[in-house]
C-alpha cells in the first residue's frame, strides 16, 4: 500500500473491475508507464467472462469494429492486431439507399479497419479459427504483469478511506486505486450504489445485433472486404450496418425502441435482401442480442482513489466505443502514474479527455440529426448519392462528401472535424448543385 498521500508508488495495488478493452488497455498502459518510471505496481483485473468460450459467456456484445484511427494509434503503441484476431480487414464501405448504392474506397486503398468478435464468436460456432479481441488484449495485460481474477465482484466497499473489492467467499481486498471498467450491459453496475459520492450512470439506448453464418468463401464472394451501411427511410431507424467477419456476418441496428417490427422491416427491405445470397432465410440466425449503448456520459467519472473509464465513464456517440475505451483508459492510467489518484488529479488531468469526447458527442448529435433529414428526403438522398458516386469516379479529385460519409460511418475522425469539413464553400456549392439536379430530376 502507498502509505503517504493520494499517489501511486512502489508496491501500490490497483484493482480493475472489468476486463474488457477499457480494463485491459488501462492495465497495459498503467503497467508500462510504471515500468518506465521504475515503479513496481500490482494490478488485479476482476473479470468473470471466459473469452475462450463462444456465445454470450465470452462475448461483450458489440458490432466489433476497430476504427481506422484506433488501428493506427494501437500500432504506434506497439499493439499490432494479428490476423488470428482480426476476422476481416475492411478497406471500403458500400452505402445503400433506396435511390441506389455507392462504394466508398478507403483513401489509401489499404485495409486499416478491423472487424473482430469480442469473444471467439457466435453461440453456434462450429470451429474456432479466430481468437477473441477482448481475450487478446487481456493476454497483453497479463504479459505486462496484470493478474486476472476470473470472478464476479460482489461488493465495492470503503474501509479506512481505502476502496476494497470483495468477491464471493473471500475477504475484501484493499486497493490504493480502483478503476471501474464495466460495460453498460454489466450486472456490476449495482456495485456503485454504495459509493461515497454521487454516481450518475450514463444514459443508454437499446441496439440490435444478429449473426448469420455464411462461410468464409461466400462472404468473400458477396461482401468481400466492404462493410455495408444503410440509410433507409424506416421510422425509428437511425443507422444500420452489415459487417463481414470470418465465417459470419453481423447485422447491427441502431435507433429508437428497436422492436420486432423494425427488425422485420429492415430485413425485408430490398436494399438489405440484395446484400445477402438470393433466397436467404433471415430466420436462420446464429445468435442475436439487444445490448445497450451509451448516449450520454457519467457526469463525474472519478473521486479520490476511484476512476470510471470506457462505457462506465464517457464514450463516443454511436461509434468507435473501443476507441473511446482506449482514450479514456490511457488518460486515466497516465494521470494515476504521473499525477496522482485524488479527485483533483483526475479532474485536472483526466476529466479534460472525457469533456472533449462529451463536447464532440454534442456536435455528433447535430450531425446525426442532419443524417436523419437526409434519410427522410429522397431529393437529399439522390444528391448525396450523386455527389459521392461522381467523386469516386474521379481519380484525383478531393473526395469531400466521400470523406464526410467515410468518417461518419467509420468513427475515424472527431465529429467536430467532420462538421468543419461540411462548412467548406466548395463542399456546400457542390452539394447545392447536386441538390438542384435532384430537384429538376435530371
Amino acid at each position: 500500500m502507498a502509505e503517504d498521500g493520494l499517489h501511486l508508488d512502489d508496491g501500490s495495488r490497483v484493482g480493475v473491475i472489468g476486463g474488457g478493452p477499457a480494463g485491459s488497455f488501462f492495465s497495459i498502459f498503467l503497467l508500462d508507464l510504471a515500468y518506465r518510471m521504475g515503479m513496481d505496481i500490482q494490478v488485479d483485473i476482476y473479470e468473470p467472462r471466459d473469452y475462450t468460450r463462444p456465445g454470450p459467456i465470452g462475448c461483450n456484445m458489440c458490432g466489433g469494429i476497430i476504427s481506422e484511427s484506433l488501428v493506427q494509434n494501437l500500432a504506434a503503441e506497439g499493439i499490432n492486431l494479428p490476423p488470428t484476431i482480426v476476422q476481416r480487414g475492411i478497406d471500403s464501405y458500400m452505402l445503400h439507399m433506396d435511390v441506389g448504392s455507392v462504394r466508398i474506397e478507403t483513401p489509401l486503398q489499404e485495409k486499416r479497419i478491423g472487424a473482430v468478435y469480442r469473444g471467439p464468436g457466435p453461440r453456434d460456432l462450429k470451429e474456432v479459427k479466430w481468437g477473441s479481441f477482448d481475450g487478446y488484449l487481456q493476454n497483453l495485460a497479463i504479459e505486462k504483469g496484470a493478474n486476472v481474477i476470473n470472478q464476479r465482484v460482489d461488493e465495492l466497499l470503503w474501509e479506512d478511506r481505502l476502496p476494497q473489492i470483495k468477491i464471493r467467499k473471500e475477504e475484501p481486498q484493499p486497493y490504493d486505486l480502483v478503476t471501474i471498467a464495466v460495460g453498460v450491459n454489466s450486472a456490476s453496475r449495482k456495485l456503485f450504489n454504495n459509493l461515497n459520492f454521487e454516481f450518475t450512470a450514463p444514459k443508454t439506448t437499446k441496439t440490435f445485433i444478429q449473426e448469420y453464418y455464411l462461410g468464409e468463401e461466400q462472404i468473400q464472394e458477396i461482401l468481400g472486404s466492404s462493410m455495408h451501411v444503410f440509410l433507409l427511410d424506416l421510422p425509428r431507424l437511425e443507422f444500420a450496418a452489415i459487417i463481414p467477419k470470418g465465417d459470419y456476418v453481423s447485422v447491427c441496428l441502431l435507433g429508437e425502441d428497436i422492436d420486432k417490427e423494425l427488425i422485420s422491416n429492415f430485413m425485408n427491405a430490398p436494399e438489405v435482401k440484395g446484400v445477402f445470397p438470393p433466397g436467404w432465410d433471415f430466420d436462420a440466425k446464429s445468435c442475436n442480442c439487444s445490448p445497450r449503448i451509451n448516449i450520454s456520459g457519467n457526469s463525474r467519472p472519478f473521486d479520490d482513489r476511484i476512476v470510471f473509464i470506457g462505457d462506465s465513464g464517457v464514450t463516443r456517440l454511436y461509434k468507435d466505443g473501443i476507441g473511446a475505451a482506449y482514450r479514456t483508459a490511457k488518460s486515466a492510467a497516465t494521470t494515476a502514474v504521473l499525477q496522482g489518484i485524488s479527485a483533483e488529479d483526475f479532474e485536472e488531468h483526466y476529466w479534460p479527455a472525457c469533456r472533449k469526447i462529451n463536447t464532440d458527442n454534442m456536435i455528433g448529435q447535430a450531425m446525426f440529426l442532419v443524417t436523419r433529414i437526409i434519410q427522410g428526403q429522397q431529393i437529399a438522398r439522390r444528391a448525396v448519392l450523386r455527389m459521392t458516386a461522381d467523386e469516386q469516379k474521379e481519380a484525383d479529385s478531393t473526395k469531400r462528401m466521400s470523406m464526410v460519409l467515410w468518417d461518419m460511418f467509420t468513427g475515424s475522425a472527431p465529429y467536430k472535424e467532420i462538421f468543419v469539413r461540411t462548412l467548406s464553400p466548395v463542399f456546400l456549392a457542390r452539394l447545392a448543385g447536386d441538390l438542384a439536379i435532384s430537384v429538376t430530376g435530371r
Binding site: A76, N80, I85, Q87, Q109, E110, K111, G114, G246, A353
Partner: protein, 124 residues
C-alpha cells in the same frame, strides 16, 4: 491477403518509400522485413539496415518537413500499415505519451549510429 490481415502487402523488392520524396506518414511493419537503403556519393547503394515485424520506418516525416532521407523496400513479402501524420499528431497533442515508443526507437537508432561512427573511426 488473408481475410484478417491489416495494412498492405508489398512484394519482394517493391519500393515502399523513395529517397527524396515528400512524406506525410510513417509505417509499422505487421509481418516480414524491409531494407533501408541510400544512394552513396559514388552512385553505389548503401544498405543502412533491415527492419522487422513491429518496427517503424519513415517516422522522420512525422516530425520534420524534409524529404525522405532513404529508400525503403520490401525484403521478401512484407505487410505494412500506414500511420497518417495528421492522425498521429492529433493524438500526440491529446496524449504526448503516445510518442514514448517512437522516441525510444529513435534514441536506440541514434545510439546505434554513434556506435557505428566510433567503429568506422577506429577502422579508418
Amino acid at each position: 491477403m488473408a481475410s484478417g490481415e491489416l495494412g498492405k502487402v508489398y512484394q519482394d523488392g517493391e519500393v515502399i518509400i523513395c529517397e527524396g520524396e515528400e512524406g506525410q506518414c510513417m509505417f509499422v511493419i505487421q509481418e516480414g522485413e524491409v531494407e533501408v537503403v541510400m544512394d552513396g556519393d559514388d552512385g553505389q547503394e548503401i544498405r543502412l539496415g533491415v527492419r522487422g515485424s513491429g518496427e517503424f520506418f519513415g517516422e522522420m516525416a512525422i516530425f520534420d518537413r524534409d524529404v525522405r532521407s532513404a529508400t525503403v523496400r520490401s525484403l521478401g513479402e512484407a505487410r505494412v500499415l500506414t500511420v497518417d501524420k495528421k492522425n498521429f499528431m492529433r493524438r500526440v497533442h491529446e496524449d504526448p505519451s503516445l510518442a514514448f515508443r517512437l522516441v525510444e526507437t529513435m534514441s536506440r537508432r541514434i545510439r546505434e549510429l554513434g556506435e557505428e561512427v566510433a567503429r568506422l573511426q577506429n577502422n579508418g
